[in-house]
Symmetry: C3
Subunit: 141 residues, 3 copies
């Protein structure tokens, strides 16, 4: 579907604060779905969520479920859901805005060179301005 | 309270992505509270959250807290909060819309016959359309 | 910054349902950021989140990460982020509304005297009314 065909005035703002497999996949599926529907998509990665913007991010399920991550990936592939890295790339290609929380960047002593291309470093205040103008706000954490 | 007395134009959209006792109870309490206030309620169960729509769902607290689930249930009953299965039934009776994520259904190879009666299978795009029109959106995960 | 200089018509409604260090810090950072921007801020503490309003609250990271809480606090201090107790006090001073869920208070048999000064006990229905009028709603759990 061509995003131009959709309602481009609708905005979706998502915060991601965890880095487990499930909390990584859901915002990417929502972001690509929203972009397909013509929404303007904004995803803000903070705290542990920031790890998901690292070039080599490969999220796993939490705790004891870690070992089942591969099985989940296979099942997802079977029903046509790409893996995290592909979804993230697709989201960026579709124009979704992925933001790295500037405070977390400083706190974790991370540099932009460690992050995937096409993202933007942003502060919490700037994100709240975006969220306040969005029809949808979701905190995935 | 009669829902007709309330403001029926207000909508609440909730996503549930976990299946622990606390993450099960909160959307049901919010759903029945919202319905009582006359809100149009929409709750979308995805990922692990989908387990909560199974007929035999009996959520427990996470990890080591699992053993304290019974104590929590007793304390809830004492202050007049019904258990999960009763709350879920009440929510459906009050007209709250409970949705099973279609992608998760396929991924987990679950069929509608395993789910409680009165729910609807829905895709993420259709849910985002509902969320964009809702005054309240909450991601409980 | 003087809140009067900002846009006082914007409202932010946050639910907090966990009591880990990260889930404690994020709503306080968002609350003080929002208040600085002139937003009307409402934070509702429920379930485990209610522990964060206790006078002696000192949240830790979850599970095995518990031991790294001190390291996180040091890193935060280094980039200018106050600890939880200071952030909570600041949020209240700036006029953010912190609410204790009345049902959780009853369930946990907690009294207002155990809670920090300056908070309000509130029911879920009253909070949903506030959330429905808010530009931003986030469930941090």
């Amino acid at each position: 579907m061509n995003p131009e065909d959709g309602d481009t005035s609708r905005k979706m703002a998502i915060v991601v604060s965890e880095d487990s497999f499930d909390k990584a996949m859901m915002p990417m599926i929502l972001a690509t779905t929203g972009a397909t529907m013509g929404m303007e998509v904004h995803v803000f990665f903070t705290f542990f969520g920031l790890n998901l913007l690292k070039k080599d991010a490969d999220p796993k399920l939490k705790g004891l479920y870690r070992l089942f991550t591969g099985m989940f990936k296979k099942r997802m592939k079977k029903v046509g859901v790409d893996d995290f890295q592909a979804q993230r790339e697709l989201a960026i290609e579709m124009g979704a805005n992925l933001y790295a929380c500037s405070t977390t960047m400083n706190m974790m002593e991370l540099s932009e060179s460690q992050m995937v291309d096409g993202i933007t470093v942003l502060g919490a205040a700037a994100f709240l301005d975006i969220a306040a103008e969005s029809e949808i706000q979701l905190f995935i954490g």
